[in-house]
């Protein structure tokens, strides 16, 4: 399946907050939807979920108009919320039934996810009596209870310790492997890098970056090299072809002069008997890319 968001515009009281958002997400390739607070991510998600109407633009699935009630959708909103005074099982069954499952199906699926998330013993406890991390797991169970076609995770890892984060990572990975449409919104870039093959960065209601994450990283590397060596930085800076070096924690990031190839530079290192511990093309982190595209100076 392929979900395409095309040229979405949205205004509140005459103030346009989305200025033509377009992206696409395919089954088996999770999309990281990134942006600073207030950039327009949640508005975009709410329009996809039909909570808000769009001013213009379209949302299509496999080339046909997307109607939210025709698909099973799992939504883990940024604003977490369930019923604190109701039991875990009661509300999971309620949400399952609300999305079209029978009571028996909802109960069975709830049991599966509670066991999978290692919280089966809390099935008959009131939500408010659970720890924040376990409440977060219940949220995840309600998201996945219908085995949805499209899953939207908005900051799914907040409040989870590393052990619980591992449980969640396995589930997210499973969703991707099962070929579901996965939209993953988070400020924790390491998770986005881990799961998402495609990323979209929204800034002030505009798409400022969209595409395959690996290709984006290569493009942002701009032919820079990464070198780890035992010799002094100053010696490296005086080598032929070096335009600029940026010292890192354990390595140097080297920008070569226009037209100077990485292969030629490696040969220079060898000729000059400079010990090379690591040599490769520089690949920026998603955080660096994000700051460049959506930072204060963007």
């Amino acid at each position: 399946m392929r979900l395409e968001v095309k040229d979405l515009h949205k205004s509140y009281s005459g103030n346009e907050v989305l200025h033509g958002i377009s992206f696409q997400v395919e089954s088996g390739r999770a999309l990281g939807l990134l942006g600073r607070n207030g950039a327009g991510k949640t508005t975009t998600i709410r329009i996809i979920m039909n909570v808000f109407n769009k001013d213009s633009g379209s949302i299509e699935i496999d080339g046909k108009p997307f109607h939210v009630n025709e698909y099973k959708i799992g939504y883990l909103p940024e604003e977490r919320g369930l019923y604190p005074k109701r039991t875990v099982m009661e509300q999971l069954v309620f949400f399952g039934c609300l999305r079209g499952m029978s009571k028996a199906q909802a109960r069975s699926s709830a049991k599966y996810y509670l066991e999978r998330l290692e919280i089966a013993e809390y099935a008959n406890r009131k939500l408010e009596t659970l720890s924040k991390g376990n409440q977060q797991k219940i949220q995840l169970a309600q998201t996945l209870i219908t085995d949805p076609d499209l899953v939207i995770f908005d900051e799914p890892f907040s409040g989870l310790d590393p052990v619980n984060a591992k449980l969640l990572k396995d589930l997210v990975q499973e969703c991707i492997e099962k070929g579901k449409l996965v939209i993953f919104s988070s400020h924790q870039m390491n998770y986005v890098e881990e799961f998402c093959e495609d990323v979209v960065i929204i800034h002030h209601g505009n798409i400022v970056l969209n595409g395959d994450l690996q290709a984006i990283k290569q493009d942002f590397g701009r032919g820079r090299l990464v070198l780890s060596t035992t010799v002094d930085d100053k010696i490296i800076a005086q080598l032929p072809g070096v335009k600029q070096i940026v010292p890192g924690k354990h390595e140097l990031i080297i920008e070569l002069e226009q037209g100077y190839e990485a292969q030629a530079f490696l040969e220079t290192l060898v000729k000059q008997r400079i010990p090379v511990l690591r040599f490769g093309m520089y690949e920026p982190s998603l955080t660096e890319i994000f700051v460049e595209k959506a930072g204060d100076h963007a």
Partner: protein
Amino acid sequence: MKSFLTVLEYELRAFLKNKVYLISTIIIGLIIVACLTVPAFLLNGSQTSGEETSSGPYDESTYVYIDKTGSLDTAMLESALPGSSWIEAKDEAELRTTVEQGTASAGLLVEDLEHYTYYVFNSSLFDSTEATFTSLLQSLHEMQWLEAHQIDPTDYADLNAFSVQATQVVLGKDGASNYVYTYILIFALYMVVLLYGQNIAVSIASEKSNRAIEILVTSASHYALIFGKVIAGALAGIIQFAILLALAGGTYALMDGYWNGALDFIFHIPANILGSFAIFGILGYLLYAFIFGMIGAMAQKSEDINASSTPISIIYIVSFVFVYMAMGSGDEVMLSIASYVPFTSFMGMFSRMAMVDVPLIEVLLSLVILIATTVGVGILASKIYRMGTLMYGNKITFKSMLKALKDQ
């Protein structure tokens, strides 16, 4: 429809399992049973042992008195108030001291047969001594007057015994006897709407404060959500009302032998009045429940509900008072107005039906207006529910809500 039923069941279960709901049903039920049982036993007890208890509340009561007319004496007073004992005081100071020290329960200073002063240490709402004593002096005065005019007291008693007997045949509605049960029904409705309306508003506002709303509105239509929630609240109220009504009816039926039909005018409500009460009452209840739902959707947290619901509570109370006054005055114009305006017609129409004959066409017209208004308010409430519940942070006014609906 499935979503609506799911919400209805989930919300109704919450209402029925609510401790306040259960406890209030039990307590009100016990009060009803007690009110219908204890007085019946007391009435029955006083009827069967009337001879033994005819001395009334004056048993073992001691009174102190000063008589400046010279018409009274201790024996006469003890005879007038059987079971009482009387002390004659020398002056007002002694009379006061006797009462203050508790030697006598009350004191009487008789200036003449038309004026006396009553002294009591602590005044009580249920103290009938003063009234009894006034009656005694009145009788003495009458006796003296009859004697002065040489009229035989027996003839005077015969004259007073004459009374005109009237038989009333009500060809239309017996508004006077229908008044009590109509008042009870509209008061019950008034209480149910206020209590459950608040509950519905709090329930919606808490979904907003605990953020469950975002998952709800993306899982089911807002119509299913608000209609399910409001109708669940309505059903919970109806169930409680029906339980209490059945309990009252059942207890009265069991105690009927003791009451001797004294409360038939309340419990034998005509079926057409009960039917119109049910239809108009439920619709009116839904109308206000939707309005309370809107208030819940516009509040930021459940603590804000009391303040936010004040305007609608005032409108509701004014509506109730208007219908109550129209009933009391029997003003047909007021009753007619109350029976058409949707905010009052749910009380006004069946009250009017209980008091006077109302043409069927007028009943149907009022019903159509009420249904249309309730559905319209329900649709508006569902839109506000969806928008209002997603507007976090800022204070939401009705104006800003309408603007947001336009922007949506």
